[in-house]
């Protein structure tokens, strides 16, 4: 077995195992951690495909930022597993239909070569242009409008999130640190000069 094949199977085995543990582990924090492991192994597999930018971006964005916030939320929740399991049988038909749909879709994509969906094979990265440069060039030339649209949508998302949480008057009495850091000693402390008194 070639070394590259070994690395691929190594990462894939961890990826499949971690993916399975995400849905089977009882503790939601453990599930989130296994998802992190899954992202990591997926990044390793992408690295094998010479897609180093995508691999590093996956770790930087999903592992470094998204999953951290995810863990924040999951850790704060007080999840009662028995209550979650109550409606299992009544939701099963709907769930299995969705699962079946997803399996069909995945089969169509993964079997794309077999069905003749792709006209050409997977594009190979050329050695002389680095991955990041190639992606950057495409984003700012060919796909500039979709790229700008995506960023505008993200901006709208940020504004909406801020607007949702900042409704109404501020109810807490916290002080504004922006004003506070400009305070000088003269604003708070008054130094009195008193002449020394003589004892009679």
């Amino acid at each position: 077995m070639e070394f590259k094949t070994f690395v691929f199977y190594f990462f894939s085995a961890i990826l499949v195992f971690a993916g399975l543990r995400v849905i089977t582990s009882r503790n939601p924090v453990h599930a989130a951690l296994f998802l992190v492991l899954a992202f990591f192994s997926a990044a390793g597999v992408w690295m094998l495909l010479q897609a180093e930018f995508l691999a590093i971006a996956l770790i930087l964005i999903y592992v470094g930022a998204v999953m951290v916030l995810f863990l924040f939320v999951v850790m704060m929740l007080d999840i009662n597993l028995d209550r979650l399991r109550e409606g299992f049988w009544s939701y099963l038909p709907l769930g299995s239909i969705i699962a079946l749909l997803m399996v069909t879709e995945m089969a169509l994509v993964l079997g794309g070569n077999y069905f003749g969906l792709f006209e050409s094979g997977v594009p190979q990265a050329t050695a002389e242009v680095s991955n990041v440069k190639a992606v950057g060039r495409l984003i700012f030339t060919e796909y500039v409008y979709p790229f700008e649209l995506a960023s505008v949508i993200l901006l709208v998302g940020i504004v909406a999130a801020v607007a949702l949480t900042q409704r109404g008057k501020r109810k807490n009495k916290s002080v504004n640190p922006a004003q506070q850091v400009f305070v000088k000693a003269a604003d708070r402390v008054r130094v009195l000069q008193m002449p020394a008194e003589k004892r009679d």
């Binding site: 992190v36 180093e52 590093i56 470094g64 951290v68 863990l71 850790m75 990041v132 922006a178």
Partner: protein
């Protein structure tokens, strides 16, 4: 001699030789690094002692030089207490999560033109990605301890680190814009060109001068990112309880080592990105490894200096500085540098 050793090992290990050779190189980087971490703690106590007109540790060995080893031995022999009701596996994994990224990032750090373990094109991205994993150690430690104080401490530190990672990242974007590369080696060599470098005063051509606001932002952000004073919300000993309050013995020591290893890592990055790496400051002296080490030591001294100088920031003031001052400043400077590069005054051609 190096070639002889190489041939000897090649004969000894045969087909697995590249693996052995790489492992050797890794040990060559990690072992001195760990020694530096140990003696950085000693140096910190000495420097702060001198700044506060004390002597500092001076009992173990000549001038107290064996102090860090004695400290390590003490922590090694202490019992690691796992609190009741804690999540044991996560509790044990958390310190490793904190420490491992600080070591893994060294894989792409260049020491001079040729001396680098892995010369990858996207090395700056790699360093950013790997160092962003360090946050897991903190939140997992906070959560797994099964203690309210540790949990709140973990949340506090993690929020602070995420906030300052953004301003750090934006400062780095400006650097890679002017050096036109993501490779740390190329970023350093691009700082060796310019009007000042041609006149023999190379240190004025380094990124710190033309990108001065970004340099300041980066310098402050790395202090906040490594949870050091005056931004040490992770463990303000006298006021607030930190994320590792349930850890003891070696498990605590690993967090401690991670903090210092991170300090050395970010100091190295600062030297490479803004201070010209291994380039010599003046024309008549040769470039070399020594300059890089001197610059790293200078940035590390800055860390210790401000710890002894400034009082601790309050948490809401830290967050304001990150979000309302540094990030807007970075965004504005990004546009300014972009316009500068497009104008005829461009100095980075």
């Amino acid at each position: 001699m190096l070639d002889a050793l190489r041939e000897l090992l090649q004969g000894l290990f045969g087909s697995v030789f590249p693996l052995v050779w790489t492992l050797l190189k890794i040990v060559l980087i990690i072992a001195p690094l760990l020694l530096c971490v140990a003696y950085l703690t000693f140096w910190e106590r000495k420097v702060i002692g001198w700044m506060q007109v004390r002597i500092g540790p001076n009992r173990v060995g000549p001038w107290g030089l064996i102090q860090p080893i004695a400290d390590g031995l003490k922590l090694f022999l202490k019992e690691v207490v796992v609190p009741t009701g804690s999540d044991k596996s996560v509790f044990v994994i958390a310190p490793m999560f904190a420490f491992a990224p600080a070591l893994a990032a060294w894989a792409v750090v260049p020491f001079n033109d040729t001396l680098v373990l892995a010369n990858v094109n996207a090395s700056l991205l790699y360093v950013m990605a790997i160092s962003s994993i360090g946050i897991y150690g903190i939140i997992l430690a906070g959560w797994a301890s099964n203690s309210k104080y540790a949990f709140l401490g973990g949340m506090r530190s993690a929020a602070q680190m995420i906030s300052y990672e953004i301003s750090m990242g934006l400062a780095l974007v400006v650097v890679l814009m002017v050096s036109n590369s993501l490779n740390l080696g190329d970023i350093v060599s691009s700082q060796g060109r310019g009007i000042f470098a041609d006149h023999g005063v190379g240190f004025l051509s380094w990124n710190w001068l033309p990108l001065l606001p970004m340099f300041v932002v980066y310098l402050v952000s790395i202090v906040a990112e490594t949870n050091r004073a005056p931004f040490d919300m992770a463990e303000g000993e006298s006021e607030i309880v930190g994320f590792h309050c349930e850890y003891s013995g070696m498990a605590f020591a690993v967090f401690f080592l991670a903090e210092y290893a991170n300090m050395i890592l970010v100091s190295t990055l600062t030297s490479l990105l803004f201070l010209g790496g291994w380039l010599s400051p003046v024309g008549f002296l040769p470039d070399g490894l020594l300059w890089l080490f001197l610059k790293i030591a200078a940035v590390l001294f800055f860390f210790l200096w401000i710890r002894a100088t400034f009082p601790r920031y309050r948490y809401d003031q830290i967050m304001r500085l990150g979000w309302k001052v540094f990030i807007p400043l970075c965004l504005i400077w990004l546009v300014v540098v972009g316009c500068w590069m497009m104008s005829p005054l461009n100095i980075w051609k």
